[in-house]
C-alpha cells in the first residue's frame, strides 16, 4: 500500500504520535493508501513554518520573474508525472481515468497561467487623484497578504489544489493547504514534486486532517492572514464565523443548484448532450453542475425523450477503465445521501424517467445510476437542495421570463447556462441570471483567466483571472505630498484656526 506523509517546512514527516488513516478507493470500497493524519499541533507547526517563510524567508521578496520560474518548475513536474498522478487521483476519488487525466493536464496548464501572470501583477503603480486640497503624487502598492490557510474538497482534488496554490504563490504568499480527508494523495504527490523545485522551504505546506482540528486551527490562528475554502455552504458559514475573531480575509466557493435553460430555438442535439455533460460529469459532483434543467412546455417531451435516450448508454463501472462514463460517488455516506434525495423526489411527486437506483451489475463500489427526474416543481426539495450526485431535475416553463424567475429562485448562484441558436437572445437571458458564471451553448468550461465564484450563498470572492489573484494581495495607498511647504497647507486650519 502506498504511504504518504505530511509536508511541513520543506520536509516529509509523520504526524504527531505517528497517527495515520487509510484512504478508501470508492470503486472497490477497500483501503488503498495509508496517509499521515495531522493533529492541531501538526497544523500549528505548518502555520509556524509558513509564518517564518513569509516574515523572514526570500519568497515574498523574490522578484516576480523568479517566482514565475518556480511556478513553471511545478508545472513541469506535474506534467512529467501526469499519467501516474491521474491513476492516484482515480484510486483516491473515483473520478474516471478520462476525467483525472484531463485534470492533470489542465492543472499543469493552469499553473503556467499563474506563472505567466506573476510578472504582470501591478505591484507598484501611480494613480491619478483629484489634486484638491493638496498637490500630491499617489501610488498603489500591492503586497502578498501573508500566510494563507487553504481548504479544498474531494471532487477535483489536484485541480482544487492548483486553483488555491496558484494565485497564492503567484502573489508571493505562503500557505498551508488542507486537502479533503477522502482525497489527500494527489496534493501530497504535488508536495513531493514541489519539494524538487526551487520553492523555498516553508512556503508551501500540506497537511491531511479534519476540519475540526486542522481546519479550525487555520481559521482561528492569529498567525494566519487569510482563509480560502471550497466546500459546502454550512462549512462556509462556520469558517467565516471562526475566521471573524481575527478579521481574516475569507474567500468562499460554496454550493450551487445551477439553472440550465433550453430556449425553443436551441440546437437540440448540442443542448441535450451539453445538459447531460453539465449535470453528469464526474457523477454530478461539481459545485457548478447544471442540476435544474428548464425546458418549455412545447419542447418538454421531445427533450426528455432525447435526454433519456442519451443517458441509457452511459456505462457505469470501473473508473480505471477508459471505456467507463460514470465512476462511483466518493463514499458510502455520499451514496446514501443521493439515494435519500432520490427517494424524497419520488415522495414529493416527481417521476424518475431513467436511473434512480444503484446499478444492479455492480456489487462493490459507491455507484448510483445517472438519474433524470421529470414533473419537478421548482420548490421541491430535489430542485432546491444541492444533491451532489448524478441527479437531473427537468422543470417545465411557460415563458422565458418564467424560466428566468425560477432560475433565480434559489439561495445559490454559482453556474448556469442558456441554449439557443440565437446568441444575442441567449445573452439577454444570461444577463438576467443572478449567478457567477453563465455558459451560452456550453457547460463546465471554466477558464483560469476568467473570474469564477458565487452570487448569494454560493460564496464570497472570486477565483481566477487578475481578480482572483488580487484576492491574494493587500493594497496600500501611498500619498506623497507635493506642496512641500507649511504655508500651503491651509487645511491645517481645521486644527490650528485661521
Amino acid at each position: 500500500m502506498p504511504e504518504y506523509q505530511l509536508y511541513i517546512d520543506g520536509q516529509l514527516c509523520d504526524a504527531e504520535g505517528g497517527r495515520t488513516a487509510d484512504s478508501i478507493n470508492p470503486a472497490t470500497e477497500e483501503p488503498w493508501a495509508r496517509v499521515a493524519r495531522a493533529s492541531r499541533k501538526d497544523t500549528q507547526r505548518a502555520i509556524a513554518a509558513a509564518r517564518r517563510a513569509f516574515d523572514e524567508g526570500p519568497w515574498p521578496r523574490m522578484s516576480q520573474a523568479d517566482r514565475a520560474k518556480i511556478l513553471n518548475q511545478v508545472a513541469d513536474g506535474l506534467e512529467a508525472r501526469s499519467q501516474e498522478l491521474a491513476a492516484v487521483e482515480t484510486h483516491d476519488s473515483g473520478g474516471t481515468i478520462r476525467k483525472t487525466s484531463g485534470d492533470m493536464m489542465m492543472g499543469a496548464a493552469q499553473l503556467r497561467y499563474f506563472a505567466e501572470m506573476a510578472p504582470k501583477l501591478p505591484l507598484w503603480e501611480e494613480i491619478q487623484v483629484p489634486q484638491f486640497p493638496a498637490q500630491s503624487k499617489n501610488y498603489l502598492q500591492r503586497e502578498p497578504i501573508g500566510v494563507c490557510g487553504q481548504i479544498i474538497p474531494w471532487n477535483f482534488p489536484l485541480m482544487m489544489a492548483v486553483w488555491k496554490i496558484g494565485p497564492a504563490l503567484c502573489a508571493g504568499n505562503t500557505l498551508v493547504l488542507k486537502p479533503a480527508s477522502d482525497t489527500p494523495c494527489s496534493a501530497l504527490e504535488l508536495a513531493k514534486i514541489i519539494d524538487q523545485t526551487d520553492l523555498p522551504k516553508g512556503v508551501l505546506n500540506v497537511i491531511h486532517g479534519s476540519g475540526a482540528e486542522c481546519g479550525e486551527e487555520l481559521c482561528t490562528s492569529p498567525l494566519v492572514d487569510k482563509v480560502a475554502l471550497t466546500g459546502s455552504t454550512e462549512v462556509g458559514r462556520r469558517v467565516q464565523q471562526l475566521a471573524s475573531g481575527t478579521i481574516k480575509k475569507v474567500t468562499l466557493e460554496l454550493g450551487g443548484k445551477s439553472a440550465n435553460i433550453i430556449l425553443d430555438d436551441a440546437d437540440l442535439e448540442m443542448a441535450v448532450d451539453g445538459s447531460l455533460f453539465g449535470c453528469f460529469f464526474h457523477q454530478g459532483q461539481a459545485c457548478e453542475s447544471g442540476t435544474r434543467l428548464f425546458v418549455s412546455e412545447k419542447l418538454h417531451d421531445e427533450v426528455v425523450g432525447r435526454l433519456v435516450e442519451r443517458t441509457k448508454p452511459l456505462t457505469v463501472g470501473d473508473p480505471m477503465d477508459f471505456a467507463t462514463c460514470q465512476g462511483p460517488l466518493i463514499s458510502a455516506r455520499q451514496r446514501e445521501t443521493v439515494l435519500g434525495y432520490i427517494k424524497k423526489g419520488v415522495d414529493e411527486g416527481a417521476k424518475v424517467a431513467v436511473g434512480g437506483k444503484r446499478p444492479e451489475h455492480l456489487a462493490k463500489g459507491y455507484y448510483v445510476e445517472p438519474t433524470i427526474f421529470v414533473d419537478v416543481k421548482n420548490n421541491m426539495t430535489i430542485a432546491q437542495e444541492e444533491i451532489f450526485g448524478p441527479v437531473l431535475c427537468v422543470i417545465r416553463y411557460k415563458t422565458i421570463d418564467d424560466a428566468i424567475r425560477m432560475a433565480n429562485d434559489s439561495i445559490y448562484g454559482l453556474g448556469g447556462a442558456v441554449w439557443s441558436r440565437d446568441k444575442e437572445k441567449a445573452l439577454v437571458v444570461a444577463k438576467q441570471m443572478r449567478t457567477g458564471t453563465v455558459w451560452v451553448n456550453e457547460y463546465h468550461l471554466l477558464s483560469v483567466a476568467a473570474p469564477f465564484g458565487g452570487y448569494k450563498q454560493s460564496g464570497i470572492g472570486r477565483e481566477f483571472g487578475l481578480e482572483g489573484i488580487l484576492e491574494y494581495t493587500e493594497v496600500k495607498h501611498v500619498h506623497v505630498d507635493q506642496v512641500d511647504n507649511r504655508g500651503g497647507k491651509f487645511w491645517y486650519g481645521a486644527l490650528f484656526g485661521a
Binding site: 488513516a21 493524519r37 492541531r40 479533503a180 480527508s181 462556520r238 455516506r333 426539495t381 444541492e386
Partner: protein, 105 residues
C-alpha cells in the same frame, strides 16, 4: 419534525461537552453538497435567524432551518454516531474519532 438520539450519540455528546467546558454547544444540519444534511455539533456557533429549535440531544439544542424542517416534516430523525477515522468536517466530535449521522426512525 421530531429529534431523537441513540445512547451512543448521547455518550459522544457528553464527551464533547467535557472537551468544551464552558462553551455553548448546538446541533445544526448540513445544507447539501459534500455532506448532505449531516448533523454538525458546534461550539460557540452563531445561529442564523432561519435556524429554529426542533429538539434537544443530551441537553444540546438542535436547530434546523426551513429546508431541513420541510425535508423531515412529520418524521422523526435520530442522531447516531459512527467511528470514522477519516471524517473531514468541522463538527466537534470528529477530533474524538466519531462522526454524527442522521437516521430516519
Amino acid at each position: 419534525m421530531r429529534v431523537g438520539a441513540t445512547p451512543l450519540a448521547e455518550t459522544v455528546v457528553a464527551r464533547v461537552r467535557a472537551a468544551h467546558l464552558g462553551d455553548e454547544l448546538v446541533f445544526v444540519f448540513g445544507s447539501g453538497c459534500c455532506e448532505g444534511t449531516a448533523p454538525h455539533l458546534f461550539a460557540r456557533y452563531t445561529l442564523t435567524p432561519e435556524q429554529e429549535p426542533v429538539g434537544a440531544v443530551a441537553g444540546v439544542g438542535v436547530f434546523a432551518d426551513a429546508h431541513v424542517r420541510r425535508l423531515y416534516r412529520d418524521r422523526t430523525i435520530v442522531i447516531d454516531a459512527e467511528a470514522d477515522p477519516l471524517a473531514d468536517g468541522f463538527s466537534a466530535e470528529i477530533p474524538l474519532g466519531w462522526r454524527f449521522v442522521l437516521r430516519l426512525a
